[in-house]
Symmetry: C2
Amino acid sequence: MGNSPTEKKQIVNPSLPSGFNEYLPKDQILFNRMLETIRTSYESFGFVPIDTPVIERSDVLLAKSGGDTEKQVYRFQKGDSDLAMRFDLTVPLARYVSMHYGELTFPFRRYHIGRVYRGERPQKGRFREFYQCDIDIVGNGTLSILNDAEIVGVIYQTFKNLDLGGFTIMINNRKLLGGFFESFGVANITEVLRAVDRLDKAGPAAVSKELSELGISQECIDATLKLAGLCGKPADVLSEVKTWNIENELFNEGVSELETVCGAVGAYGVPENSIKVNLRIARGLDYYTGTVYETFLDEHPELGSICSGGRYDELASNYTNQKLPGVGIAIGLSRLFFQLKESGLIESGERASISKVLVVPMDDSIEYAIKVAAAMRNRGVPTETYVNGGKMAKKMGYADKLGIPYVFVCGESERENGTVTVKNMKTGEQTTVPMDFENGIELAF
Amino acid sequence: MGNSPTEKKQIVNPSLPSGFNEYLPKDQILFNRMLETIRTSYESFGFVPIDTPVIERSDVLLAKSGGDTEKQVYRFQKGDSDLAMRFDLTVPLARYVSMHYGELTFPFRRYHIGRVYRGERPQKGRFREFYQCDIDIVGNGTLSILNDAEIVGVIYQTFKNLDLGGFTIMINNRKLLGGFFESFGVANITEVLRAVDRLDKAGPAAVSKELSELGISQECIDATLKLAGLCGKPADVLSEVKTWNIENELFNEGVSELETVCGAVGAYGVPENSIKVNLRIARGLDYYTGTVYETFLDEHPELGSICSGGRYDELASNYTNQKLPGVGIAIGLSRLFFQLKESGLIESGERASISKVLVVPMDDSIEYAIKVAAAMRNRGVPTETYVNGGKMAKKMGYADKLGIPYVFVCGESERENGTVTVKNMKTGEQTTVPMDFENGIELAF
């Protein structure tokens, strides 16, 4: 069994492909805690989980896309199959809903937390494999605008639970933007919106130039920059907008939708000062057709939007003739986690362990120690026993390095008296207490 | 924005690649509950999570393997990179531990729940993408045999928590087997063990023939079949084995290890009748060097082993010269879930929803209803509001189809009186009660 001793083994240097990422236990525990907070926040609103394959048929996954996305996709042949790895969770949702249309109940409210793959140029904080945390509400034919308000409620509750400090949810409406440009006779609205979307990054001069090159009149450009500068309390922005007297149906629909959404979010528990109407927000993706959202940390706007999304008219027109309007958001957690660490907003915990108790036996009391640990687990306290040999200092060092808060020492006297010596690793305090093998013993954490 | 109305869209039939699998919400909820039970069971023993990339460098991932595994691997080129998708969680663990050796604390106790990829011939219940739930304890240089007993404790606790009925953990030791064949002068022990491993599937006649073809003497074959028939209470099997008077150091080491492991599992809370020593168990993989485990449901042995693993001397000899012995197990949950459903051991729940309450407003009470839902969420009860239009019957039908246990009806009178009308969807009972907007109201589930 195994290799013969004369055989010299070839050692391969263990490394990850460029752009791929993993965490040491300390960070993994922290990351998982954030994932869990997002999951429970989503579930509190009754969203159901789905979990689609990472690999899809290329013809299905790439039915719509083109350009940059297609270039970034991990696509390969296996046997006769042309396969591709998902690059977001929206296309798989569209495929899922179309494929299982008859078996789903609408509005279909799903969350999906999973990894997606994009062969981007690797750069700091941009990964080729990263977690997305999505929710969407998909209607069958129609979907009330109140769902758009609920999504704001979900964003608010999720980031409140994540406890990253103050944040503001920016809301806009594509109909308002579309109607605005329609009223100026602009035809290529998608291109114009893409230019407006770059205002933060490129600045007004560059965007003016770009709009001008798109054939937009100076009057419209001036109005656009004025519009794009409007960001504030919903009532203030909306009353300003109404003074413009734009006679355009789409525009007015957008204004009215924004009013409805902003008026309803309070009932979902969202405080007034947590939202703003920001007319600059367009979202680059051209499938948004109504409400759009971005979310910013008040103290760290440089992180960019940490949660974005919006309303779309047709989720799945590539896969079905059913009209499936929806509204949803995504949190790109891998990138956010990286940014939060870089900004010092979160820190790797002291703990590289799940255990709250390490039971350390003297050599003659191992079985006793194992039973002590079992009693603590029965109580619901993650507990491990150090069953490997070594000096006491080594065993204590193990607890210390992993940040396990309590060590239970079990020696001859503890075993004979049915006690444990509890050491609080933070304070150094040590007390010997009777062990309860039925219910474990109480500890302060 | 969007497609012009004259453009006729091409519909792509939404389907999954062959061998890939996803669940409808009912089953996804059930599957996730099982995953969660496994996770909390693993964490109760203080195992820490890791989460490695699905994609590895081909030269790293395939450093050891060959033969069948290599053929099944999803391997592809992206740019200049030769990449491959992980086919198990053990090779990534070996790579992880070698790569981060200096930053880990040993014994390193990790769990890993993730998907792995094998391009096998698709067949019922065999998927090309499936979940594995692994734990391993990896030592630095040495690792006490008591860890092998702890793993039995983890298996026991996990399947007790999964609540799938009675089960038996079968334990054996490769040293015992190795020493046994050594004492007969058998050289090609790995091949012989592979043949023995097929006893259940192929039967004794076929295995005899195979062993004979491997040049094994009739005396050894007879002894082998006798050995392979031994399965029972540890004390019984071990005392029988000792009567054979096999003078072989490895054999005796194996017997002694088995005695230690079986003697210690009781302290981990494992009842005596939940384990057996089964000398037939060899595990096909040739990296096991000591204890080996398989687990069977008492009422459904036809499912095969539902949790297997063992002790190995060198986790990562392909990546490092450090000696890293370990012991671990894996549960192949996707396959197990399929089998449990096929056998009727688990059933899709009645619930296709996470929500426990659906708040249904009359048209004039939507905002009131949204506030009621927020109060229930504050209480920790997953709750959604039906904000979309439609008749009351449609709204009730939605709760019914999703199996949401309670509907709160909010109309004009409820709004005016600060009450809700609570309908228990199972019993049909309906009562109007005052709403507590601070703490929500209590419900029986």
